[in-house]
Every structure is written in C-alpha cells, then in structure tokens.
Symmetry: C2
Subunit: 593 residues, 2 copies
Amino acid sequence: MANPIVLEKIKREARSKSKKEIIKEPIDGVLRIIPLGGLEEVGRNLTALEWRQKNGQSEIIIIDVGIGFPESEIMPGIDFIIPNTEYLEKNKENILAILITHGHYDHIGALPYLLEKIGNPIIYTAPLTKGLILKRQADFPEAVKPAIEEIKKTGYRPIRLGHFTIEYFHVNHSIPDSLGFFIKTPVGNIMHTGDFKIDFTPVFDQPADLGRVVQLAEEGVKVLMMDSTNANNPGHLVSERKIMENLELIFQKAKGRVIAATFASLLERIQQLIYLSGVYGRKVVIEGHSMKINTEVAKRLNYLSYPKGIFIRPEESLKMPPHQVSIFCTGSQAEDGSVLSKIADREHRYFRIIPNDTVVFSSSIIPGNENVVQDLKDVLVRQGAKIIHYQMMDIHASGHAFADDIRLFTSLVKPEYLMPVHGYFHMQKAVEEIGVELGLPRENIIIAQNGSVVEVKSNKVVLSQERQPANLVYVDGLGVGDIGEVVLRDRQTLAQDGIFVVIVTVDSQTGDTRTSPDIISRGFVYLKESKELLRETRDLIKRVIEKNVRFLGEESPIIQDEQIKYRLKEEVAEFLFKRTKRRPMVLPVVIKI
Amino acid sequence: MANPIVLEKIKREARSKSKKEIIKEPIDGVLRIIPLGGLEEVGRNLTALEWRQKNGQSEIIIIDVGIGFPESEIMPGIDFIIPNTEYLEKNKENILAILITHGHYDHIGALPYLLEKIGNPIIYTAPLTKGLILKRQADFPEAVKPAIEEIKKTGYRPIRLGHFTIEYFHVNHSIPDSLGFFIKTPVGNIMHTGDFKIDFTPVFDQPADLGRVVQLAEEGVKVLMMDSTNANNPGHLVSERKIMENLELIFQKAKGRVIAATFASLLERIQQLIYLSGVYGRKVVIEGHSMKINTEVAKRLNYLSYPKGIFIRPEESLKMPPHQVSIFCTGSQAEDGSVLSKIADREHRYFRIIPNDTVVFSSSIIPGNENVVQDLKDVLVRQGAKIIHYQMMDIHASGHAFADDIRLFTSLVKPEYLMPVHGYFHMQKAVEEIGVELGLPRENIIIAQNGSVVEVKSNKVVLSQERQPANLVYVDGLGVGDIGEVVLRDRQTLAQDGIFVVIVTVDSQTGDTRTSPDIISRGFVYLKESKELLRETRDLIKRVIEKNVRFLGEESPIIQDEQIKYRLKEEVAEFLFKRTKRRPMVLPVVIKI
C-alpha cells in the first residue's frame, strides 16, 4: 500500500512540474508594474503587476488595497483617499488575485470600497492580516464579502497564478505577520519588500527571514521594489529590544497608573506593554474601538501572549490601586474622539487623570499633528499627569528600514534593477543613491510615480511613456470621488477669510433695487462691530446695480444677471480687500421680482 | 587740578549712592510679575513687572513686546497674534520702560502695534536689536517712533528706573546680542534668562557670560525666570561649532551651487554660511526680503564679518560657475511667497534649480509645516537638486537650552524661587522637576499662565488669585482684535464641509414661495453632479416653508422670519447630513415680497 503522504507529494510535484513546463514555453510578453495608490508615496496603497502577452492576453495581480490619509491643510474635511482603480476596473476580468503584505489600513483599508469594483478577486495574505480584513469588513455590512486564502509562514508553499508564481518571506514591521513577496514571472523575478524593517532582536516577533530572502534571491532578482520611507535616515533603525528596555524603565518608576497611547495597529508595541504590565503586577484595560478590535483579533488568532486574567474592564480598574493598573488606548495623535482626547476633555466615560498617572506617547507624531499633540500634552499635564514621549527617550521605533538596513537588504539581494516605492520622491532618490553606491548603474534605478507603467522585458526594464489615471479619489462622509480640486480650493478659501453673501432684490420692471441689500457673512469679521463697513458696502452694491442696470431691457435677462453678478463680485471683493486686507469669498445673489 | 575722569567717577558714585539710599528706605510694597504675551507659552511675547506700594504708587517695566504665530488648523487665516495689553493700557502712565532681550519677532514684533497704546515708553536693548526694531518700524510709517536707549555689553552700566535697578548679561541664542536681565527690586532680585542657550564654543559669538551671571547671583536671586522651551530634551544642546563642522562637509562636497534656506533671523547660521562661502571660494547672494533686511542691519552694525566683495547680485551669479556661488534665502518652512517656494514653482525672477545644486534646510521645521516642507523637498528633488536637511545630519541647533543646560544654569544661580517661562505647561513642569531635583521645595516653583499675577514679597513668592486679561488678540490683514472665537469657529466649519446657502422668496400676502428656491453652495459637493440631491433639497425647502407659513399673519413678521429660517436651517442640515454624512454650514435667507 502506498504511503498516502508520499503519494500526495508525488502528485503535487507532478502538478507543479507540469505548470513549470507551461511557463517555460516560449512567450512573447511584457510585465507591467503599475503603482496606483498613495498621495506622493509611490505604490504605498496599491500596485498592479500585469503580465501582458503580444496576443493581447493579460493577467493582473494586485499588491495591497489601502487608503491614504489626507494632508489636512490642503484637503480640508477629507476623511481619506482611496486609490484610483480606473485601469483595474476596465481590466477586472484579468485580475487573478490580490496579495496583501500586512494589516495596516494604508494596505487593507480600501478593500470595502474597491473589492466589488475590481471583481472581488481572491485575496492571499497571512492569518493576522486576514483577521483584520474580516474585522474591518464587518463595519461595511453592504460591501461584498471577501474571499481570503491564508498564507502559512511554515512550509512556504508557492502560489501559482497564471504565469505568476508567488513566494513570500517574513519581514519585521510594526505589526506581526508582515510579508514581502517574491514574484516569478516569465521575464524575471520581482521582489517586493512590503513595509519592512530588519530587527535582529525583536521582542515578540521572529527576525526578518533574511536566510529565505537570500535563498530566493539566488534565483535572480530582476527588480527589487524597496520600501524607501526612511531612506533619508542614516544608520540602522533601533531594535524593538531597546524600546522594550526603555518602556520597562517607565514601568519601574511609575507610581500610579500607566496610560500608554499608541497606534491601534502597532500590535508589537501593545504586546510589549501587556508583557511589562504582567511583569510589574498590573492589570490591563484596552480602550478605544480600533485598539479593542485589533487586540481582539490578535488574541483570538494567538498573536498576543499574556497571563490569564490580565485584561479587566475599565470599571474594575477604578476599584484597584492605581499602581496595579495599565490603560492602553488610542489618541497618540490627539485625534478628535480618541480615548486620550476624551480623557483630557473630561468626557471619557470612566477615566479622568488622577495624581501620579504616567501618560506615555509611544508613537511618532504624524506630520501635521504636532500642534494638537502639543496642546493635548499640555492639558494632560495641567490635570496632573506625567508625560513621557518619544523625543525624551527611545520609546518608539519606526516600522520602516533606515538607510543602512536598505543597504544591507539590497546587498543581500543583488537585484538587477532597484525600484524605490512607498516614499516621497526625495526618499526614492535617497534609495537611488544607495543603489548607485552599491554599484548599480544609475539607469537601473526605476523612479516611478503613481500611474507610471514600468515595463519589464527579459532583456531590460524601462519606465514607459504610458500613464494610467492615478489622481486622488477623495472620500468625505458617504461621498467617494465626488470631491475634486475645485471643492477643496473653495474650502481653503473659505477657511482663510470666510464668506460674504450679497443678496439684491431687483424690480425687473423698473430696475430699482427693492429695500436694502441683504448681507450674510461668516468667518470674515464680527458683523456687529463692522456696521460702518457694512453700510459702505451696501452703498457700493446699490451703485453697482445702478451702473449696470441699463443692461436690463437691452439684452436677455440671463446675461444681465450674470453681468451684474460678475460686477458685484469684483467690486465688493476689491472694496473689502482695500478696507480689511482680507479676501472673503464673495457670493452675489440677484433676485428679480 | 583734579583728574576729570576721577572726578566724574566720584560724581557718579555719589549719584548712585544717593539713589541706593532712597531705595533702602523702608518700603511696604509688592512686586507683581504678570506674563501677558504668547499663546500657551507663558510670557513668551511680553511680561510686565510692576512694583506696587501700599500707598497705591505703581511702577511698571515691560520685558519684550513680540508677536505670536497662529496654529494654522485652529486659527485659519490669522496672520499673527499680539499680546493683550488691556492691563498695561489702563496703567500706561506708570510704565517706566521696555526691556528687550533680543531681536526676534516673537520679542520685538508687536512694538508697531502696541507702543502707542502703552504710552511709547523708552526701550532699552542691545545695538543689533535696536537696529532690527528700527528697520521693522520702517514698514509701519504711521506708527509712533520708538525711543531706544542702547545697552552696551562692555562696562555693564546698571539702569535705574524708579525702584528698579536693571543689570544685564550676555547669553547665547540663535541671534547675536541676546540678553538676560537681572532686576533688583526692593523685595529681592529677579533674574530673567531671556531666550537662551549655553554654548561654550560658539563660532561667531562669545560664550554666554556665566561668570557675570554667577557674580550677579551672589547678590541673591529671589526668582529665576527660566526659558523652558527645551526642558523636555535630555542632555546638553549641541554647540554651533559642531553645526559649522557639518556645514563645512556640505561645502566640501558640493559640486554646484549651495542654496541654503534658514530663518531670516538666524543670523548666527547666516554668518557661518557666509564664512564657509569665503573659505571655499564662493560669492554670496542673499535673497528674500526679511533675510536681506536682517543681514543689512547686521552688516551696518558690524555684526557680520565677511571678506570684501563676497556679496553679489543675483544676476551676477548667473554668469559665474555654479561651484563659485552660494545663495542664502528664506523658505525653510515652505512659506508661500518665500524665495525657495518661488524657485520650486519656477516663479523666481532669477533662479531655477540646475543640476548639482545642493539645497540645505538649515532650520528645524515649525510644527504644522511638516507636510508642506515635505512637498517642497519633493519638488526640488524632482527638478534635480540634492537636499540636505537637519534630520540627516546636525546642521541646525535650537536656540534654547536643553535640560542639562537648565540644570547647570539653575545650579550656578541658586535661586530661591524658580519660574519657568516661554514654554508650554508641560515644558514648565519639566523645569519644575529639574528644580526639585536640585533641591528646591516644590512650592518654590512658580507655574504661572499668561494673565497670572505672581506676587513677590520680601518673605515669600506666591501665585495670586488675581487674573489680568490675556486672551489672544488676532491680527488678520488690517484688523487687529476684530477676529474672535466665533469667527474662527465659522472658518473651521467652512473648511470642513463648505457652505450651503438657501434663498427662498416668499409672497408676504399669500405665503407662497415664488419660483424655485435658489441654492448656492461652495466646498460641499460638485453641484453639477448632485442634481438629484439638489432637487430633493428644494422639495424639502418648499415643504418646510409650507409647514411654517402659518406663522405668517399670526405673529409679527420678524419672528416669523426667524422661525422659518431656524426650521430651514435645522431640516436642511439634517437632510444633507443623512444623505452625505457631511455638515456644511447652512445659511437660510428668506426674502419677503
């Protein structure tokens, strides 16, 4: 009797061999790499890999489907940004699968918005990422249900999809189960680091599997797609071990509660904090919707280790001595409605700052949030908290490799071409310098933009002239893509000097203005204290109407309206600027009766 | 014949003795320290010291009269903030003088706005600061002309003003001629550090005169007012010498032009850059209004040393080999209209980025500007520039002492009371910890706010219950103080989701709405693509009018209007939110004909 396991193995090899043979038949095609997601950061949220044959046949795989976060000054009111998928929607029948590198929102967050539009292809990802995708999907009951195939980190079974064969490897990042991909194609192998760092001494993760990376790279790497986020930061990134040591100092010294705010997705840090709480005899309260969700998923899937009974409810913690309590929560960016902001505003259901509380900000500050975080710290200190933040000691490490880590990885992989992704242009250029320094010809560094099409042929890789639509798609409330540059520019203008609405009622028979013009203004000046200004503006309005009313009767009514409105807008705006050096948005309304 | 110099000396001593005797007569009074300027940073822009006797006599001296910079997210459109001087205006006949610590705008910038209001008292300051004050004054031809008495840094002649005797000492900061003050009063001596750091090896300045500080402190320091800006930063601040060494590396390597952007007021850095240009055979172009002004003043007053002929005009530089040219300019914060922004936008009159340009950002990024600076760097790199910024190497040092420097200074001075100023509350608290660590009782740390009144008596110092008006005074265009919280809140709302103006014309006889309601909206949605939404909104508006029109005829017309408007606003806002999850500002206008 044949051993069933051996039998299965033989079958499998046969299958895989036959596929390999298919792939090896002479093929005339090109691999196209198309980064489509992200603001300035190339391919941060979504990248498409398309195998296109001369006969027109196309096969597409997608890496990550995430959201981008708005720059608040220039995108007021925008909730977030999703990748432009025009190209993918047109070609959705060719999409074979989505590969997801890890569970952060900038890599999974747009799935509920886009999955259906691109034909709901199968998703391959690691177990924790799968858990987080499904949990997020629960917030979108009307969205299509995703089909997810789990990638196992033991056994490393390659995924075969059309002409692609996908291998993967473990990297470090600020969330467990982060993957890099190694994608074999008929014209060469593409390696994608994902969001990665190299930590030789992580605390609750395995070190990035550089052994496997080298092994894979031995098959040749045509293009290495490299996380460039921190390419401008010299040296090696500090290890999570060092962070843990510093966090331990805080636990040693804290006389009251330890309240630690961090990103809800920073599971590695949360694990460290839970562990230290256990060691120092503290119970743990997890507060904040997203942090609860993330820890719940991680607990359920055994990605968190913790002593039994360590988690307690907030109301239980209130009955305990403060030095036996840790609270881990959202709000390190002082976001509206986050737990820390609510505590500071004395609006949290359970918690107020009490003497001896130590508040730890264990995360970097996202550019644009510095002022509000500064204000939040101030309020907390006023209420009696002791603050510890990452500028005072290393209690936060980035999730992205520094320059020397990029050097190390690139040296191990020895790619033919280097394509920096996930960074601003100047970060890409920093990777370029590293590549050149390591001996790559400068023309072998591919600096793409979102919407670029990189063509990989067996003999060369070039940035083609072709461009696919990659303009930003804004999500604001329920609206997806209905906000454009004009609306945003209006919001900016409104924010600067407010609005000034002028309403004139004109008798269409006589051309006289009826009563005094109405003026409504917001965000410009205190109207009550500007009576003189308003009086003069009303006089001006009447003069403008009188001067322009001769158009009435001569031309068609519509043109008259537009002419009067145009003059009103120009003259009122100019007058207000002369008098106040401010430029409110002037909106004239002419009502004819 | 008597030696005239000796004679003069004897006379002077006699004068000073007689004054001392006056001061020594028994006095029953209190010294009041009142910080009035700054946002959250206590006394950053203005502090008043008032000697008040039981008989009601009052004498006031003011330290600094500067402007504050708005937090752009919560103060949209505001140009800057000036101190609230209500208290000083009421007591202006008692103001003896203004002492200015140094020439930065947050310490001199409000003079043109406030001098006249507070009775144009005499100003005491160092020569460079005087030059900068007069230069700025030239931009305000209508403002009152300031009377400035120069403080000489050699000879150290005390200034006697009523019951005050003012001594001063040299400190390091990012601009030359920075002073700290030592103010003798009948109830004890107040030492004020000014904005300060301690640099033992400055490049173009003298080290802070700690010898003199110690000498003065030997007379006893009742209250030490301490710059707390960087109290949360551990260790000692890096010396300007180190900065200079790093800048030199840049000059050594640069193949083309060196374009360095920094704060116009950072004269120390500008001096370093000019010096290095000389050493490396480069001519220097200074570009940008404020930087030109500052260097002009510094040159004229001999605060800049430079080889003859090093300065050239921009058009001359275009004819020279790039490696012989340096350009120093404004724009390190990516400010609109700054030189660097203009170069990036290809709108500068003379300069475009050319290959091999090295652009140096030699300044920290002011919180809130990170995103725009990031974008600016990206644009410059795209145009071919090489970027060097302070996160890549130490090419910028703060102007404010770090924790260990504060420890050192406080240890030398041994004050009875320590009063942290010029920082957010959490920075003040960091100074408190340092003070306690050095052996001061915690009750001897004075944590004041703007508007606080600190009472210094001969036997104790207390924070009184009294509060003077210290709310922010906003300057926007020509308006000073005419923007309040309501206007700012409106601007924030407008920025978030725009505006939605509803105009209904109602026949006051019949109560019918005439024609279709007008809708004007900006910053909310694309109206053209929202026809269905607009149609439904118009229907809703008509229904609201119909439902509420019964008020017409029953009550007085004014109340009817308000009632209808209120209902319109509520119901339209609710409808729009339900349909879009956005909350534009709804402005209803009812026109009765």
